[in-house]
């Protein structure tokens, strides 16, 4: 078929295309917070049963326990060995904690823990921001990281040393990606105690040996 272009129609085409584009774009607007009024609602019991939302064992909070997956992951993770720095007190590690230590000075105290979780637990930044929240600091962005983190080798793997100085509470910690899981070593406590123990913390990190089945 030969093309017989009608000029009047041709002029309308961009309009039609623009209309279609506008229609496509209108789907992209983001939902906004809203306020609305509803008739008085009674909490609990009288609500309809929600099907398939939760498994029966989850439905009674009193029966809940450490999640099966977490405890298992903690059990399966390799053992960890370390040397307790002078002045630190070794407590019994329990549950998902791989190690539990404590240090007390004249001006306060701090707790040192080692934990491990499968995966990257939400990513480096999310975890660091969680810690920042714990010592009353604003959330940071990736660009801010160099200001308070340095790379640090632990148990022959490349980790990240984090120094978070808060007003009353501070954290010295390390994140270590280790063959598909992440280890967290953290000293959390009164700022004076934490800062006074920075060299002990580094000594402690250097002494950590994680059982490694991957090599």
């Amino acid at each position: 078929m030969t093309s017989r272009i009608h000029h009047c129609n041709l002029q309308r085409l961009p309009l039609i295309l623009a209309g279609i584009a506008a229609l496509c774009l209108s789907g992209c607007d983001q939902a906004q917070p809203v306020t609305y009024k509803i008739p008085k609602e009674q909490r609990a019991d009288t609500m309809p049963t929600m099907a398939a939302v939760t498994t029966p064992e989850k439905s009674t909070p009193s029966k809940m326990n450490v999640l099966p997956g977490m405890q298992q992951a903690a059990n399966e993770a390799g053992e960890v060995n370390f040397t307790t720095p002078e002045g630190w007190e070794k407590l019994t590690a329990s549950g998902i904690r791989k190690a539990n230590l404590k240090v007390t000075t004249d001006t306060g105290s701090a707790e040192i823990t080692i934990l491990t979780f499968p995966g990257d637990v939400g990513g480096r930044l999310a975890n660091i921001n969680r810690w920042r929240g714990q010592v009353g600091l604003e959330a940071a962005t990736d660009e801010d990281l160099p200001a308070f983190t340095t790379s640090y080798d632990i148990s022959a793997h490349r980790g990240l040393y984090v120094r978070l100085e808060g007003e009353t509470q501070s954290i010295l910690g390390a994140l270590l990606p280790f063959h598909g899981s992440t280890w967290f070593v953290k000293m959390l406590g009164d700022t004076s105690t934490v800062l006074a123990n920075e060299s002990s913390m580094k000594q402690f990190l250097d002494s950590i040996q994680i059982e490694d089945h991957a090599h």
């Binding site: 078929m1 272009i5 041709l10 085409l13 279609i20 609305y36 309809p48 999640l67 977490m70 549950g95």
Partner: protein
């Protein structure tokens, strides 16, 4: 411009686009086995570009794991087909009595493509479970959540401040509309496992300093997002609530921390709000009361033969009250919504309705009607021509 228009109007393009559509449907079907229908629809048909990856379950995955096949997605193909058809009309077709049938068929097709887009953009689906003998005035989206602050101070009504989950971004703040509060998100997990630490164990490492998390020593473990059809993601977040004077505390909220738990209250002076993260709700000016649910099975089997719900819809405006029977392929259309019988639970005492709001629902019917009439006209014309010819010979 002329060359461009000719390219978009060419029949060759139509054939290529239709072939690519077949490829997309083929790989979409393969992907559905892995990821379920909801995610496949999003990835393949409601997108401009789809990438198929070699499934882990297939043989020789260890050698072919790198295999990826990119292809144009549904939006791109549908959009191009629409442009193709419109451009073809602009360049080639002139409306004449002889071509009226073809014209109708094409208009129907254009309408069908547009209605599909309208449905994707405008339609909302949610579910409404109702127990026998009780009623419900809201439905909830099983794949979407909201953070709400509920003010119950007024004796006549509750005020709900709702924040869409998409706005809960770690480190970001959101103003709560019509209230003095601001929410700062500490962390957000689209799916997580939530449990209680062992009795007697030390307090868990948690940013929360208020509510259930502290009282019950709750452990949160982030989990991978599930797309399985009968599973719900446990959306979970740590949020800080700020008043005009500063922080009021940090709460753990999650869609499994619901009415079974004591309410988590945010208090500022005389005012207080319950803070809840829940499946996104849609409230209606009417309530659906389930009078009776019946579930018939084929004799001697557990296979459902028919299930139906007898409902009474009670509207604030009582003149709109309506009784209806909802069963398979027989939904209730009411106030721009369609209620389908979707499922049941709780030993046949709870009926679950799929509630669909689709402003464009009538369009596919119109387009199919147009195409049907078009075909009748077109083939009818040929038929009568043939009859005439036969009569003259």
């Amino acid at each position: 411009m002329k060359a461009l228009l000719q390219f978009f109007a060419s029949l060759r393009l139509t054939v290529v686009l239709l072939s690519l559509s077949m490829v997309l449907i083929f790989f979409g079907t393969l992907a559905q086995v892995e990821t379920g229908i909801w995610k496949t629809q999003k990835d393949y048909f409601e997108s401009a570009l789809a990438v198929w990856a070699y499934p882990e379950a297939w043989i020789a995955y260890d050698k072919l794991y790198w295999l990826r096949i990119p292809m144009p997605g549904g939006y791109l193909l549908g959009g191009m087909l629409l442009v193709n058809l419109i451009a073809a009309h602009v360049t080639r077709f002139t409306l004449s009595a002889k071509k009226a049938g073809i014209f109708l068929i094409h208009i129907g097709l254009i309408l069908l493509l547009i209605s599909e887009l309208l449905t994707d953009v405008l339609s909302e689906e949610s579910q409404m479970p109702v127990d026998e003998g009780s009623s419900s005035n809201y439905s909830q989206e099983y794949r979407n959540n909201e953070l709400v602050l509920i003010d119950r101070a007024d004796p006549d009504f509750d005020t709900v401040h709702s924040i869409p989950i998409a706005l809960l971004k770690p480190g970001k703040t959101v103003l709560v509309p019509d209230s003095p509060l601001t929410i700062r998100t500490i962390s957000y997990y689209p799916n997580a496992q939530i449990g209680r630490a062992k009795e007697g164990s030390a307090p868990v490492d948690s940013p929360a300093n208020q509510g259930v998390s502290v009282k019950m020593n709750v452990v949160v473990t982030p989990a991978a997002v599930t797309y399985a059809e009968n599973e719900i993601n446990t959306a979970t977040a740590y949020v800080e609530v700020l008043g005009p004077e500063g922080s009021l505390g940090i709460w753990l909220v999650s869609n499994v921390i619901d009415d079974r738990f004591p309410p988590q209250m945010v208090t500022l002076g005389e005012q207080s709000w319950e803070i809840v993260l829940r499946l996104k709700r849609h409230y209606y000016p009417f309530a659906v009361e389930l009078l009776d649910f019946s579930h018939e099975k084929y004799p001697g089997t557990e296979i459902p033969f028919n299930y139906s719900s007898e409902v009474m819809v009670r509207h604030n405006d009582t003149t709109k009250n309506q009784k209806a029977l909802i069963y398979m392929n027989h939904p209730l259309r009411y106030e721009g919504l369609t209620f389908y019988q979707a499922s049941f639970a709780n030993d046949d005492r709870t009926s679950i309705f799929q509630v669909v709001r689709n402003p464009g629902w009538i369009l596919p019917y119109v387009s199919v009607l147009l195409m049907g009439v078009g075909m009748l006209v077109q083939f009818g014309m040929h038929f009568f021509k043939f009859l005439k010819k036969r009569a003259t010979t």
